[in-house]
């Protein structure tokens, strides 16, 4: 039997695939688990192929998320009300997870400006998150600066560092820019790890103050939840406004075609700088919220994996879509918690989920750019 015939015969094909996988698995585990894998795979694959030709699998019908007009206009307020109600019936543990997902939403919103709107791939976004978090940690523990004074300071310093990176780096294009941002992220993490006098090295900074409103410290989680919630809503509104303004249109035109954009008079370097400054600004806000919530920062929280996670969030949600960034952050921050039942397998499942999502819905859950209604 020749190769083509093997390919066409579904049962033989699934037999070969499962045998192949089992052999690949064998060196890592014993014969027994390999045999189980073979049996399970063979049954699953032949079941799938008998229902439907395996070739058709990658082109499953695309999931349409088109709601009726009413649902679409009602989903936003309904979502806000549900989020506002959460602290009344959720346990502290889940509130904690939701607060973290709120911080991730801010990060995703910021990164979405740089990657989603302007098309500049950034693989070191956690560095800006770290700069924001450490700025507050340092000015608070060393100078005793108040949270509310530190918010503009942290965000401002982070945005400045974004500009400082962007000025030289914007001469580079595409993946070269990406790798420089990656390098910047690693350098920042290493500096935080080794500059013992200022950052206390790998031990991190402890005893960071919680924010206070009218003299009373926000100690309870539900108060903190609302604080983060307000920041996310404000960020989403402002970003949506900017996205639909002249600046936002300039960003999107740079992403679509840089040469065309510059030929209609857009100063691409200037707008790219704006994107970096504005995007990293939100990372600074997320950073200060993170360090004031945890009351502790250490370089371990700002690894390359964190940058990758934030990038995955905006791509899962739909690159260039502000609501998509929020949805993606929500899903990816909660997914590991939802998979708690299967503890050790959760990261494994996350990996598989990312691959499957990209295969079946490469444009992300909410799809690409959401049109502005001018």
């Amino acid at each position: 039997m020749n190769y083509a015939a093997v390919k066409r015969h579904p049962l033989l094909r699934s037999l070969l695939i499962s045998l192949f996988s089992a052999i690949l698995f064998l060196p890592f585990k014993d014969l027994k688990s390999s045999a189980i894998l073979f049996a399970v795979l063979f049954i699953c694959l032949s079941a799938i192929s008998s229902v439907k030709n395996l070739q058709a699998l990658p082109s499953l019908p695309k999931i349409k998320l088109a709601h009726p007009r009413f649902l679409r206009s009602a989903s936003m307020p309904a979502g806000i009300i549900i989020f506002l109600a959460f602290p009344f019936f959720l346990k502290d543990y889940y509130l904690d997870v939701l607060i973290m997902s709120g911080i991730y939403m801010l990060l995703a919103l910021g990164l979405n400006i740089i990657v989603g709107f302007t098309g500049l791939l950034n693989l070191g976004f956690a560095a800006f998150y770290a700069i924001g978090a450490y700025t507050y940690a340092i000015v608070n523990t060393k100078l005793g600066m108040d949270f509310w004074v530190a918010v503009p300071l942290s965000a401002g310093i982070t945005a400045l560092s974004g500009i400082a990176l962007a000025i030289p780096a914007l001469r580079l294009r595409g993946d070269y820019l990406a790798i420089v941002t990656l390098g910047f992220g690693e350098i920042v993490r290493l500096v935080l790890n080794n500059w013992d006098n200022l950052t206390n090295g790998p031990n991190g900074i402890t005893g960071i103050a919680r924010p206070s409103i009218f003299g009373t410290a926000i100690g309870k989680l539900n108060m903190y939840y609302y604080l983060v919630f307000i920041f996310v809503v404000i960020a989403a509104i402002i970003i949506r406004r900017v996205e639909c303004s002249r600046i936002g249109r300039a960003w999107i035109s740079i992403k679509e075609n840089e040469i065309a954009a510059s030929s209609i008079g857009i100063n691409t370097t200037k707008y790219k700088l704006y994107a970096f400054a504005f995007g990293t600004f939100w990372a600074g806000i997320a950073g200060i919220l993170f360090s004031s919530k945890m009351q502790f920062v250490s370089p371990e929280s700002f690894t390359f994996m964190e940058s990758v996670l934030i990038l995955s969030m905006i791509i899962v949600g739909g690159l260039g879509n502000t609501y998509g960034a929020i949805a993606g952050a929500f899903i990816l921050a909660l997914l590991p918690e939802m998979l708690r039942e299967v503890q050790s397998y959760r990261m494994l499942i996350l990996g598989i989920a990312l691959v499957l999502l990209m295969i079946f819905r490469p444009q992300g859950i909410l799809g690409g750019f959401k049109r502005c209604t001018f």
Partner: protein, 300 residues
């Protein structure tokens, strides 16, 4: 001292270069940053330990150590290549025409999967390489070059040279170069683009597998997360030399290894991992397409 650092740097650089070749070949053809490539290297390190452990248990190492080592390397290359092949078929092939960042996320998914796959099957603790090679070696000019270092430098040199010859002289290599230039045109002249892409992944994974075994034997310890930092550095090396450019990846890897060991010896070992990125940023700012990369005019 300087010569000693040169040798340490070459050893490290040879390993980086072997991994960087996988990145650069895939990038040259698919314009994809294959983030999971570092994990293939990690799989190689583990498989080396597993197979050599198996041969130690069955007694083959005591009969003939070179034969056991040879079989270990051969089996590891085969299995790693199979992993590379499968990875491409499952995670990248369905995404050929997807938006540019989708395969990147898919690659990240594969990377997370493989890390946890190895952690779950092999445990989270360090694995020890079953064979110690000791510190004995060649002594010259106040310098100690262990046999293992010499072996690593020779093996990586030979592999790079043969890859270069393969790409430049064989029919398959020519087809690869054609595919890297223009996929559509290559398929028009009768090149099976899909099998070329598979071959690229297989070769890249094989080279990474060798790098994995060499590192496992050099440091004696491996862990399931070694693929990540080695992957980043190797990718940096590929970009340093000019991504998509095969001699560039070799040069980039060696420069990176030299800079890292010299920096760790003369400046401060705390910032060991940062030198690679500092040199990268400096070089890219002077020459934005990498050392050997060609600056391409943008097409309108």
């Amino acid at each position: 001292m300087l010569l000693q650092q040169l040798i340490n740097g070459l050893t490290l650089g040879g390993v980086y270069a072997l991994i960087a070749l996988g990145y650069t070949m895939v990038y040259g053809i698919l314009e994809l940053i294959n983030f999971a490539h570092g994990e293939i290297y990690m799989l190689g390190a583990y498989l080396g330990i597993i197979f050599l452990g198996l041969f130690t248990v069955t007694g083959l190492t005591s009969v003939s150590l070179p034969l056991a080592l040879f079989l270990t390397i051969l089996l590891t290359i085969i299995v790693c290549s199979a992993y590379g092949f499968t990875m491409e078929k499952i995670a990248y092939k369905p995404l050929r025409n997807a938006p540019r960042l989708s395969p990147l996320i898919s690659a990240i998914g594969v990377s997370i999967f493989l890390q946890n796959y190895v952690m779950l099957t092999q445990g989270a603790t360090d694995k020890v390489f079953p064979q110690r090679f000791g510190d004995s070696g060649l002594q010259f000019l106040n310098v100690n070059m262990t046999y293992l270092q010499a072996l690593i430098i020779i093996v990586s040199g030979v592999l790079m040279l043969s890859l270069h010859l393969f790409i430049q002289k064989t029919r398959m290599g020519k087809a690869m170069r054609a595919t890297a230039q223009d996929k559509t045109m290559a398929s028009l002249v009768g090149i099976n683009v899909n099998s070329i892409i598979s071959a690229t992944f297989i070769i890249g994974a094989g080279l990474a597998a060798v790098a994995g075994i060499m590192v496992a034997s050099y440091y004696g310890l491996v862990n399931y997360y070694i693929g990540y930092i080695a992957g980043i550095k190797a990718f940096t090396a590929a970009v340093l030399g000019g991504i998509g450019n095969i001699p560039g990846a070799m040069l980039g890897g060696i420069i990176l290894g030299l800079v890292e060991s010299a920096g760790a010896a003369y400046i401060s070992s705390e910032y060991k991992d940062a030198y690679a990125f500092i040199i990268l940023i400096v070089i890219l700012l002077i020459k934005p397409a990498g050392i050997l990369g060609k600056t391409t005019e943008e097409k309108v």
